[in-house]
Symmetry: C2
Subunit: 319 residues, 2 copies
């Protein structure tokens, strides 16, 4: 079966899973979904989608139709869902959209599903959550990490990259541990800083919050996300997050010392401004075009190109 025609079975219909079901159906592929709570199931059915609260039936159909199975539940619910996958659809290509990749890969390994698994993480979201917040365009022009390791199966990798590309994203290949260290810096740390800023602001009382303008509003935006989702995401990446947090604490302690000694924030402010300029420059994509999936050393070639900031915008050739 050509991957563009492979059906998709989405397990979990929150913001990310729900948006993915919408995007896949919108791209013309057959797709169905499962969700544990019937509220989202009823709402998705009312919107015309083929969904069920019975995970066994969703996965039996996936096995029959050789579907691509996507795990889209928070990390604490992953093991239970993978048990169902192992019971009903152990031979399907399997991916996920969970925000940590090493712990996800370990869970897949425990469930005996590693041979057909390729991890994924679309870098997209809003502070809203649940099916009602799902958006068919959530992944458009987003970056979608598709993991690569030494044992990754080329066909499974192509199938998962195709899902990301057909949802409107570009693909960034990365090792699971590289991914986790990166998102600790640019996703999980921003959440912790936003929570701390919100807390310090509110501690100042009503006048203080009345004076809050753009810098506070933007700096605390993601503190509006459901706290259980933020904690689940951060806690699952604790080791890498501790390292990133330590770097931030070192920078802030340095700024504190300089404020006390010289009433000067210049060192931190100069470094931060230069870093933000680097980020702005980095927004320009460069395209990985020369890797043939399945060729010798293709996994290392993809990992190296991803580390240098490259992205995949069209499905690569298959050796």
């Amino acid at each position: 079966m050509n991957t563009p025609d492979r059906p998709v079975c989405v397990l979990g219909l929150g913001l990310i899973g729900g948006s993915l079901l919408r995007a896949v159906v919108d791209s013309g592929r057959p797709a169905w979904g499962w969700n544990r709570s019937t509220g989202a199931v009823d709402a998705a059915r009312a919107d015309g989608y083929d969904v069920t609260a019975d995970i066994a039936s969703a996965l039996q159909r996936a096995a029959e139709e050789d579907a691509l199975v996507v795990v889209a539940v928070p990390m604490p619910a992953v093991d239970t869902v993978l048990e169902s996958v192992a019971a009903h659809a152990p031979h399907c290509v399997l991916t996920d959209v969970v925000s940590v990749k090493a712990e996800m890969a370990a869970a897949v390994e425990r469930a005996g599903l590693a041979p057909r698994f390729v991890g994924g993480h679309p870098m997209a979201g809003t502070s809203a959550s649940g099916w009602l917040a799902a958006d068919v365009d959530l992944f458009r022009n987003a970056v979608w990490v598709v993991t690569v390791d030494d044992d990754t199966d080329p066909d499974a990798w192509i199938a998962v990259a195709d899902l990301a590309l057909s949802s409107g994203s570009v693909v960034v290949p990365a090792r699971a541990d590289d991914h986790d260290r990166a998102v600790a810096r640019v996703s999980h740390l921003p959440h912790l800083l936003a929570e701390a800023l919100a807390a310090v602001g509110a501690q100042g009382g009503e006048l203080t919050l009345r004076l809050a303008a753009g810098s506070f509003r933007d700096g605390t935006r993601v503190a509006g996300t459901a706290p259980a989702l933020v904690s689940a995401m951060c806690d699952a990446n604790a080791p890498a997050l501790i390292d990133a947090l330590d770097e931030a604490l070192a920078a802030l302690n340095g700024a504190r010392d300089a404020l006390v000694a010289d009433a000067s924030t210049e060192t931190l402010v100069s470094a931060g401004h230069a870093a933000r300029l680097r980020y702005d420059e980095q927004l320009q994509w460069w395209e990985i075009t020369d890797v043939v999936v399945g060729s010798p050393s293709w996994q290392n070639d993809l990992v190296d190109a991803g580390r240098r900031g490259g992205v995949i915008q069209r499905l690569p050739r298959r050796a």
Copy 2:
């Protein structure tokens, strides 16, 4: 002279001063400006505004026409500008739009200009700077702090509040030290956290920046501001900023300890989310309507109402 007809002399034509000159002229009041660098003067003249690079002539005209004089230069340039005010227009009502209020009041005191001075701070801005970034609507629906202390002159206070209201803002009355503690929490601390986040993100290299999405983009937005402006603002409020920074460091160190001990960010994340909800609720204004400026204890009444989050939307009555 009725305050609505009082002319306005704006000293400094960067983002804030330039936007103010535009807004005042747009409201139909006579206004002129001064800027030290001739680049902004030429640009403002080309846009049809009455501006000069000669501060003495701008201020002599202010004295002749009993103008409201607005200091709109960064804190490090304030003393020099106030010397000119003292030399040429010592009897005009004087205000400012500088981001710290206690140090500004001290500079005004040193210059012998305290009797006619009322401090101001519009909580508005963008990461851009300079005359070319100036925007006639910058202050629309913004919060504009107008300071009150035990010696504040009622007529000067009305004149400055009127400037803020006629520029489209609401007025929040506050003591200078209350203001400085508040903006340390909700303006200066957000800048330091944004700088630290940008630095830690960029330190991760190209893959890391490639994976940066909304939380990093919003969390580092103000790190794009010209570093000299950020440092000038933060450094002038060093004592209050150190206190706010210490609260943030305590929260982040607590989160680090909990991550190490229990792989849990729940305490910080719950507190931050609750705080962000308080901020969202606070966005609703309540109006201060019962204070008559110049009546007994009017200064304390305004300070108390401001501390409880009240705003002024219409020019108060004068006793």
